[in-house]
């Protein structure tokens, strides 16, 4: 009873200027809440999307890594190599097209993996000589060519990840 009386007294004692100030405080608080929620949601959405594309790039890097490891360990059927590269090329093209549209990142960035690497393997002497065998065994010379390729192009994946992370 006493509290209600106190509130009524408080509101009845306010003048016009006080009402305007109070209204301003309420509007500002609402606006601040709305801005924080909207921006936060947008930032969260952006981050989620970036994380998703970064994970996709990491998956692709791992798939190439596994493929090369299988080749080094003489564990690959030669007939499976060409279809595998086609599948990867389509996958990489799709991803890089989206990444380009979204973040303006050069979509030809992984071309060495899409063109040079399959060329290096399918034109390799050991690969051609054993094309009709069950497994292909690479000589030391061939292996070192593949390792050289991997060493000089491995950073491409990290460059894309950094570019996605830094994009606006």
């Amino acid at each position: 009873m006493g509290t209600t009386c106190c509130c009524i007294n408080f509101f009845s004692s306010l003048e016009t200027a006080d009402w305007i100030a109070l209204f301003g405080v309420v509007v500002n608080a609402g606006l601040a809440f709305w801005i924080v929620m909207t921006i936060q949601n947008k930032l969260t959405n952006k981050r989620v999307l970036k994380d998703h594309f970064i994970n996709e790039i990491k998956d692709i890097r791992n798939e190439y890594k596994t493929c090369l490891n299988n080749l080094y360990s003489n564990n690959t059927h030669p007939h499976r190599v060409i279809p595998w590269f086609k599948l990867m090329n389509i996958k990489v093209d799709d991803l890089m097209t989206i990444v380009y549209t979204k973040y303006k990142i050069d979509k030809s960035k992984l071309k060495p993996y899409q063109i040079e690497l399959p060329d290096l393997i399918t034109n390799n002497h050991d690969f051609m000589a054993q094309y009709n065998s069950d497994k292909v065994t690479f000589s030391e010379k061939s292996r070192s060519q593949l390792i050289k390729f991997q060493q000089s192009h491995n950073q491409l994946f990290n460059e894309i990840i950094i570019a996605i992370n830094d994009a606006e």
Binding site: H79, P83, W84, K86, I90, D93, K111, I115, P118, N132
Partner: protein, 158 residues
């Protein structure tokens, strides 16, 4: 308007022949030569592309070659297949009469146009005969604007 479109389509299709690697050759194209792989670029050229192109050339049609929907390509397969065509029919004629479709892996079309064509034209001019690794039936070659059917090369004796 609809009739015009239909007429246009009829004219276009009547002057264009299409072959597809998948339907006319193999789902699994392999490497360059017959002596290292069965479904080779060499075999594709001799069994499919040479004849199809000769027919299109005679009828003054355009030949569309669809590369899509196979299990994939090695660059050597396409280089051998389309390179031999340039060697036998010259670059200008091949360029004007062939249309390549490669929607799934567009870089193959770029490679054929920008690398294979000029390299094999240079090879043709310097008379560096293509390597043949299997016995093929006679195939067509344009000599002084005249189509000739011969066995132009035989596999080198081992």
């Amino acid at each position: 308007m609809g009739n015009d479109k239909r007429l246009f389509n009829e004219i276009t299709t009547s002057t264009m022949k299409t072959i597809s690697v998948l339907e006319d050759f193999s789902e699994f194209p392999a490497l360059r030569h017959c002596n290292i792989s069965d479904e080779s670029g060499e075999k594709f050229y001799h069994n499919v592309l040479n004849k199809a192109f000769k027919e299109a050339y005679e009828k003054n049609e355009k030949l569309t070659v669809n590369l899509d929907a196979t299990a994939g390509y090695a660059s050597s397969f396409l280089d051998e297949g389309f390179g031999n065509l340039v060697y036998d029919f010259t670059l200008d004629i091949v360029k004007s009469k062939i249309e390549i479709i490669s929607e799934q892996e567009p870089h193959w079309k770029e490679m054929i146009l920008n690398q294979t064509y000029p390299q094999w034209e240079a090879r043709r001019k310097s008379k560096q005969q293509p390597k043949v690794t299997a016995n093929h039936e006679a195939w067509f070659r344009l000599i002084n604007n005249e189509l000739k059917l011969e066995i132009w090369e035989r596999p080198a004796a081992v």
